[in-house]
Amino acid sequence: MSPAIQNQSSSFAMAIALLRRDLLLVYRRRSDSVTVLVFFSIVVSLFPLGVGADPTMLRLIGGGVVWVAALLSAMLSLPRLFSSDFADGTLEQLVLSPQPLALTVGIKCLAHWLATGIPLALMAPLLGLQFGLDSDALWVLSLGVLMGTPILSLIGAVGTALTLGLRGGNLLVALLVLPLNIPVLILGAGAVDAAQSGLGAGAHLSLLGALLIMTLIGAPFAAASALRISLD
């Protein structure tokens, strides 16, 4: 085997091993995933309390509220992406790994999405139900969250990587990441609305898909350089 090939195959094996480690951590911290879900539900439930319980109005704002809450929940779970690794020195080791850093970042985002994105997508229709969304809209909501959350994780990775070790990091991440995620929110909530008003949600969802692909290609590299900068 030529060294190049050997290197590649071992790089793949390493990626798998890294994913397994991250998933093990997710499993050990499974209460965290539950917490994200509960936070999600609480935020969604705050709204009827804040804005009043008129069912027609709730049906109108339902999709948007669930989406905003999903965005906030995904954002609040971001510190787990890198912060603990940064604090305990694992991040230094990741940067010093012979593995390409962007790949490592991608793997960590994948694990993060499995731990938060999928649960959120499963939970979203349940919460949508509370607002009286119809079944088409619920499907679209769930699918949208499923496609949107990886974008949130990836853009969030860039944001957290940039703010590692800075004071007020948590809020700063929100500041950097929320505006960048507005397209996801608009497309996602727009899809629900379109589904509810009988127009197809296809256009919205395919735009979301395009956004996902773009982010998948670009964000890991941006996050990797951000990590290097933060450790300097």
Partner: protein
């Protein structure tokens, strides 16, 4: 040796140049502003629909233009600084951000001042307004990130990454916001924007825009001078190791 000394030297050379030229831009800015204001307040006729209030347009529109233009320039410099590691570009980006944020704020503020008489509300969730607001958040994010980082080198690089990501995102945000608003039922208040702008008004606006532009250059140059001066203390003794390393 490996050290790229012009990297340190360039800002030092730029410093006196910036110092020499920036006062002139203040002068240009003032002259153009006087001309623009004159046209705006004395030459342009009173609008039969909007009365005198419409004259706010001579500040509002140029400010809105500058806010968007400056973001592009800032992102350009920041990414240049990040990709080619040119220190001066990063300093320029750092110097542009506050001015850009200021113009964004000015556009928002004059717009909402105008909105009160026009629409009866200080704010409506129109696509253009919303994207201007998001632009404001992006500026603040950039500035907050750089303010949170003490080490200037790290701050420059981090700002570069953020500006790059932001610059790719801005068109996406812009279109999605536009789309968001047009997809929904039309907002109940129709924005009647002056349909065919009188050419005299256009002139006034152009003059004001030019004036804002000159002002931006002046402010940015003087600010970048401060940034250089601050780092010069460091560069001063960095020169000390130069003879040993080359």
């Amino acid at each position: 040796m490996q050290v790229n000394w012009f990297k340190y030297a360039a800002p030092a050379n730029f410093f006196p140049l910036a110092g020499k030229i920036y006062p002139w831009f203040y002068v240009f800015a003032a002259l153009l502003a006087v001309a623009g204001m004159y046209i705006g307040f004395f030459v342009a006729p009173t609008d039969f629909q909007q009365g005198e209030a419409y004259r706010i347009i001579f500040i509002h529109v140029p400010a809105a233009w500058m806010s968007m233009f400056l973001y592009l320039v800032m992102a350009f410099y920041a990414s240049l600084g990040f990709i080619f590691n040119t220190r001066l570009s990063s300093m320029m980006a750092r110097a542009i951000a506050p001015t850009g944020a200021m113009f964004t704020f000015l556009a928002l503020w004059t717009g909402s001042m105008w909105g009160r008489p026009m629409w009866g509300a200080y704010w409506v969730w129109d696509a253009r307004l919303t994207s201007e607001l998001i632009l404001f958040f992006l500026y603040i994010g950039f500035m907050a990130l750089q303010a949170a980082i003490d080490d200037p080198r790290r701050g420059d690089k981090a700002g570069g990454v953020l500006a790059l990501v932001g610059a790719i995102n801005v068109p996406i945000i812009y279109f999605s916001v536009k789309w968001w608003n047009t997809l929904h039922q039309g907002s109940s208040i129709n924005l009647t924007r002056a349909p065919s702008m009188a050419s005299i008004m256009l002139w006034g606006m152009l003059l004001m825009a030019l004036s804002f532009w000159m002002y931006s250059i002046a402010v940015i140059l003087s600010r970048v001078q401060c940034v250089i001066a601050e780092r010069e203390r460091r560069a001063a003794w960095l020169q000390h190791i130069e003879p040993h390393t080359t």
